[in-house]
Amino acid sequence: MESERIVPTMCHGCSYGGYNCGMLAHVKDGKFVRVEGNPHHPLNKGKLCAKGQAAVQWVYNEQRLKYPLIRAGEKGEGSFKRISWEEAMSVIAEKIKETKEEYGPEYIMLSKGQSSGWAGLHQFLWIRFMHALGSTSFSNWGPSVCYAPQLMYHKQLIGGPSYARPDYEHADLIVEWFTGGGTGGAARGGVETLDTNLRSIPLKIIERVNKGARLIIINPQLIALGANGRVSRWLPVRPGTDGALALSMIHVIIRDKVYDKKFVSEWCEGFDKLSAHVKQYTPAWAEGITGIEAREIEELARDYATTPRACMRVSEAPQKQDLRSFAMAVPILMAITGHLDRPGGNAWFFPAARLGFSTLSNRISSKARERVLGGDTFYIKSSGRHSAFFRNVIEALISGKPYRPRTMLVFGSNPMSTARNPALVAEAFKKVDFTVVVDVSKTPTSRYADIVLPAATRYECYGQPGIWENHLTMSHKVIDPLWEARDELEVTLDLASRLGMGKDFWNGDHRAMVADFLKPAGVTLEQLEQSALEGIYLPRTEWMDRRERYEELFKELPDGKIQLYNTVLEKEGFEPLPTYVGETEDPLSAPELSNEYPLMFTDEHSAYINHHSWMRDIPWLREIRKHAFVKINPATAKKYGIDDGDWVDIVSPHGRMKAVAILFEAIRPDTLMSQHGWWQGCDALDLKETPPLQEGTNPNVLYDWDNRDLITGDITKNTMVRIQRGAPPEEVLPVREGL
């Protein structure tokens, strides 16, 4: 028996491939036995959240995909036969060649989810792979409904390369505006958008609150971040009406002249037009829409505007049809109050270096660029047509217009659970000639694949580097892949070689690829490997720590100034000012639906104990919350004869889901909140898989695919429902591996 050997690596808990919490993996007799946080890692400083702690059960989970599979039944059925990697890879390579020759490169599509992160090695490699083929049909599916649409508005309004993030460490007032978030601000970290992991954010907020900073939570439910006396003001806003609240705040700030006059005159254009426009958005008007008292709105607005160091986090949660009013009003609020790029406000944070290699974008013909699905929308045009738009992809697959991609490679993405309207997604998948799904789990999406490939977890993979601020480090392989799982990066390199593109892909040499990826940081792979425990600190640049970098950050904006009256949008035929529209399915706009569907419904983003549609098969996590849930105020529950722990049916005009009721006093009585991502069984706890479509545990069946934001297509997660006691969902047999 050996004593425990320790391998420094990075967590796979909320994503992999990039920079995550540092972890020490304990290995005994060749087995990965337990984990602890790496105290040398500056992000988590030796700490780990529940998901990270469950690493061992994630790796040794018998429910994982173990072998390459080929479809043996109808698409969607989940019947497969085991095949060898060699067979699988040669079939895939053949199909890709065929598609390219017969139809053209853009008919080959590659999509990924959040699992491997956004700007890490995996994304670089996959985009390069597509470009080498000559295809622009790359699509990041997850953020089509959260991060990216809001970011478009943010950039159009205030510039910068990404979100201006809260500078919690210096803030005296922290506004966590997170309609729909279950855990809210307690989770965001090194990357802007992941609210599912703990990383360093909760600690920063708590340190600050303990030093006297005030915490305001705007959310239909009181999130745990605000528990234990931390929240100084909880504003339980009606779901979907955040735009009205934000516009009314602008009204108060301008009316009371508490805006930053110097900043506005030096760096903003269109203030007079904005002032005239928001006159209509009085607090009394907003009270009727948001359910927040006018007096509270007045106080909130003045508090935010007059606290010199006030920050705000809105993130991706406002997934709504009327995203526009909110996503335009928020950056305007940050700007006119002078809270942009100042200590304690919302600032742009940059790493000391950006990792990456060329994605070979020069291989794309202008004809192919024109053919990006959704490329005629302002949204995709404004981002340079680098990727296809999820909604347009689904609609193109169904209608064949403008064309139907024939071969689809799906890496770590599960839209059958995470996308709105899974029935539409299923229909689209059925129309694809040939689909490959690469995943760790046997997802509902993999049921629609022709070939399914088992991905290795990060702990079974060779190094994946990442950078956060100026800390550069990489993960290390803890154990060899189990069963027949393989590293997705190696699968991609292998595929590239089989397609005769080896020369562009380091001739399949994984280490050479990683070395190339590190080059922009001026660090060699050997140096990084030698500092496995501590990583390497690059020098901090002057730029990273400077603030008020307006000249540089606004330079892409017309006249180099913030467009309070947005001339760019105006030229595209959109309204230049934020106008409140509201949600179609809201008792205020659809009173005729109120009799049948008396309650408002939305769902939480994610939680500390799972990540989107991942990890429900991990016993340590699943036992904390066994079933899909819906939170309901006890007064409302009483009215409908519902007790805590009852299975209920939730019915909207579009569908029906099932969940277990949690009676929760800290939620609006007119609102129900569930959570997405529930489908999976957990064998160890004898919990069965549930149907992905109607009558299952998926809130996405309740929303209307067509209720979406005008410009970005962001699909709503607000609707109206009724609730009643009901039977538990039917059991679904997991994907069958055959012989």
Binding site: E36, L48, C49, A50, N228, G229, W234, P236, I624
Partner: protein
């Protein structure tokens, strides 16, 4: 001899379950079995005047531990360092201690054959390392140390925060203390 205790500063607890799962990870407790730590998540008041409370619960490490008093086999014992623990070789699985503990902290393990509860990671303490939950809590809500030593951080923090035990009325004199805002007093009972 040190008298070990634990302070849980709930003003830092966000109910993330890091300690709950971390404890199972460190001690290799199988899924489906009750762990040594569980999470309380509750509200006081009526909407919209609500306070929400989240904090972990575990063995309170009582100075007068009922689990030890009722054990006929000396399996539940108090060590020389004051730590309440279970001697698994002596435990016969009679479950009496699980009924005796007013905090519900004792659970049965190995298919009901042996009792178990938090022992402050006794094996780590003997190596001079703090309990696992203390070292892993993402928000640093735990303080561990010698509650008799006026120089220790825990001694100072208990005093400064006026931390108190959960349900003092049981008079078992716990060595686990909770600190937090004013309203916490009513919650602790």
């Amino acid at each position: 001899m040190a008298r070990y205790g634990l302070l849980i500063d709930v003003s830092r607890c966000i109910g993330c379950s890091g300690c709950v799962v971390g404890c199972k990870n460190w001690h290799g407790i199988p899924g489906g079995e009750e762990g040594r730590i569980r999470l309380q998540d509750m509200t006081t008041g009526v909407y919209p005047q609500i306070s929400r409370w989240v904090f972990p619960l575990m063995c309170m490490q009582c100075d007068y531990p009922p689990c030890v008093s009722v054990c006929r086999y000396q399996a539940s014992y108090v060590g020389s360092d004051g730590i309440v623990a279970v001697d698994k070789d002596k435990c016969v699985g009679c479950e009496l201690c699980t009924f005796a503990c007013p905090y519900g902290a004792r659970v049965m393990r190995n298919g009901g054959k042996v009792a178990d509860s938090c022992d402050f990671c006794i094996e780590r303490i003997r190596e001079g390392v703090e309990p696992y939950c203390v070292s892993t809590c993402p928000t640093g809500a735990f303080v561990f140390g010698d509650i008799d030593d006026p120089q220790s951080e825990i001694f100072k923090r208990i005093k400064e925060t006026k931390a108190r035990a959960l349900k003092k009325k049981f008079r078992t004199k716990p060595k686990v203390f909770y600190a937090g805002p004013d309203g916490l007093r009513d919650v602790l009972g």
